[in-house]
């Protein structure tokens, strides 16, 4: 469905030099598949997202959606692409227009893509969608500021999913949330994926969340995918040294494991 085909991207770094941000990235997301992309800060995660959404043009290679090049598509194809591929942002405080009500926010996609042309039809779809993300009808007339971070992220997911996209790109969707709320949003994404056979490209620094949500995982190190395989391959038998180092460093909420690891590290030179 989404094909990221050998894309590279560099940015000017002053004095005529350029920094390579993405180096020959290949990544596919098929229908209903959940793909995780793990990387630390500065690994090029956000540039991949921007390229995948057609917001940034790669220097070489191409990104295509259902066979159509997202950079060179006609107006008609662009509109379809905008309907089929949606994004959930990291920061639920900045990703919702503060001056729109929940009804307007969630209904906007229906309006823009002319999926529901009457206000009553839109409202019915919005209410249905809100119920799916666990919010009641009383939310309709309220503004984002009266919701908690977790609730805002639900609204953001509802806004993205209401137009029934085929692919949902998630950019660190839980990292800004309270620990006790993260699980709610992770479970919601999992439910959405199953119920709507939604493809998910889940981009995060948190290996634990990726392991939980994604069946295919790619590991990004400084603009290069160093490991790519099924969840079990990547987490249980990592091949690349970088993946192993990351996995060893992820904190595990178990003091026995934690102490054993520290002892191991201190024994090593």
């Amino acid at each position: 469905m989404l094909q990221i085909d050998h894309i590279s991207k560099s940015f000017p770094a002053g004095r005529g030099r350029r920094t390579m941000v993405l180096d020959d990235i290949v990544l596919n997301v098929d229908e209903g598949q959940s793909v995780g992309l793990v990387g630390e800060s500065g690994s090029g995660k956000s540039t991949i997202i921007r390229c995948a959404l057609g917001l940034t043009r790669p220097d070489s290679g191409r990104v295509s959606y259902s066979g159509i090049d997202v950079q060179r598509s006609s107006r008609f194809d662009t509109l379809r692409f905008r309907r089929d591929v949606q994004l959930v942002f990291q920061d639920p405080y900045a990703s919702l227009n503060p001056r729109m009500t929940v009804e307007e926010l969630v209904g906007e996609g229906l309006l823009v893509h002319k999926l529901e042309t009457t206000a009553a039809g839109r409202r019915a779809r919005v209410v249905e969608m809100l119920a799916m993300v666990g919010l009641g009808e009383e939310a309709l007339a309220r503004y984002p500021r009266s919701f908690s971070g977790g609730q805002r992220q639900r609204i953001a997911i509802a806004r993205a999913v209401v137009i029934r996209p085929k692919l949902l790109i998630c950019d660190e969707p839980v990292s800004a949330l309270d620990v006790s709320v993260q699980a709610q949003v992770i479970n919601l994404l999992q439910d959405m994926q199953k119920q709507l056979s939604l493809g998910i490209l889940f981009v995060a620094h948190d290996l634990a969340v990726v392991r939980h949500l994604c069946t295919t995982v790619a590991v990004l190190e400084r603009g290069r995918i160093v490991e790519h395989g099924t969840r079990e391959q990547v987490f249980d038998t990592p091949q690349h040294a970088y993946t192993r180092a990351l996995l060893k460093a992820v904190p595990i909420p178990d003091p026995v494991v934690g102490r054993a690891r520290r002892a191991e590290r201190q024994a090593a030179p």
Binding site: L87, F89, A94, G134, A139, S146, S148
Partner: protein, 282 residues
């Protein structure tokens, strides 16, 4: 699973201080006066009464009379609509021009932005008062000319401030999100970018009213704005300056009216500024 929403987060109650309430009250009173002033003023303020010329302030004529024997207090009351509404009209007109320029600069291709901003720069570097004087003279001296002249020279600052803010708003994730959702450019601007950029102007508006009122009175005073016998305050000062040495009140009263209005709106601007950014609080 339906989540129980916490009882609606209490909307921040705006607790105003006595000082703030006073300023709001004065501004509201000034608007109210402008609205009803001409209706409550007696009709004889437009006609001469040669028996009562240049009376000093007294119980009968609180602020005295002018050289035509007209009651200055009631002329001020009647003229407040002209002065304040003309000022507000100027600010509205140039804000609209500024918004259009800023929106085009934000949404348009780079060269449009460059072009509009260079024009704005030129507008900013010209002395506004002199240019509006010229425009008003060309259009023929009248209050309308003054309004048009100030509207045509006042917009560059609004355009520049708004364009900077709109550029910043454009970078907000929710704007990016709207683009990803497939929202059209027009809708993007009108629904997402502009409403979230206007905050910055609210403070400016109050200050602008204060400033524009002075300038507009200035134009009338110089003689290219409202013309005597109009009770527009600048025109009143202008008309009275000839006999200022024998009837100071005829100049002082409209002058004071202008100052009171200007100060009230300047204080309002100050309050709004602090409200927007509490760190400015002394």
């Amino acid at each position: 699973m339906t989540l129980v929403l916490p009882t609606a987060a209490p909307r921040r109650k705006a607790n105003f201080t006595a000082y703030e309430l006073t300023v709001f009250g004065v501004v509201a009173a000034l608007f109210l006066l402008a609205l009803i002033g001409p209706m409550i003023a007696p009709a004889d303020i437009y006609t001469s009464n040669m028996l009562e010329t240049l009376f000093p302030p007294s119980a009968e004529h609180w602020l005295g009379t002018d050289d035509q024997g007209r009651d200055i207090f009631w002329r001020l009351v009647a003229g407040s609509r002209l002065s304040l509404f003309a000022t507000v009209l100027v600010v509205i007109l140039y804000s609209i021009i500024g918004m259009i320029v800023a929106t085009l600069a934000t949404v348009g291709p780079r060269w449009v932005d460059e072009l509009l901003m260079r024009i704005t720069d030129i507008g900013l570097s010209l002395p506004g008062l002199v240019v509006s004087l010229g425009i008003a003279t060309v259009l023929g001296p009248s209050l309308q000319s003054g309004i048009i002249a100030l509207a045509l020279t006042g917009w560059p600052m609004t355009a520049r401030i708004l364009r900077t803010t709109m550029r910043r708003t454009m970078e907000q994730p929710f704007v990016e999100g709207a683009r990803i959702l497939g929202v059209s450019r027009t809708r993007l601007m009108l629904k997402h970018v502009l409403p979230n950029s206007l905050d910055v102007l609210i403070v400016k508006w109050a200050g602008d009213i204060s400033f524009t009122m002075l300038i507009l009175a200035g134009l009338s005073f110089i003689g290219v704005g409202a013309q005597p016998p109009s009770p527009e305050w600048g025109a009143m000062i202008s008309g009275a300056r000839g006999y200022m040495s024998i009837a100071w009140w005829a100049v002082a009263a409209p002058g004071a009216a202008i100052v009171i209005n200007a100060v009230a709106f300047a204080l309002l601007a100050d309050i709004l500024q602090v409200r927007r950014d509490p760190s400015l609080q002394a």
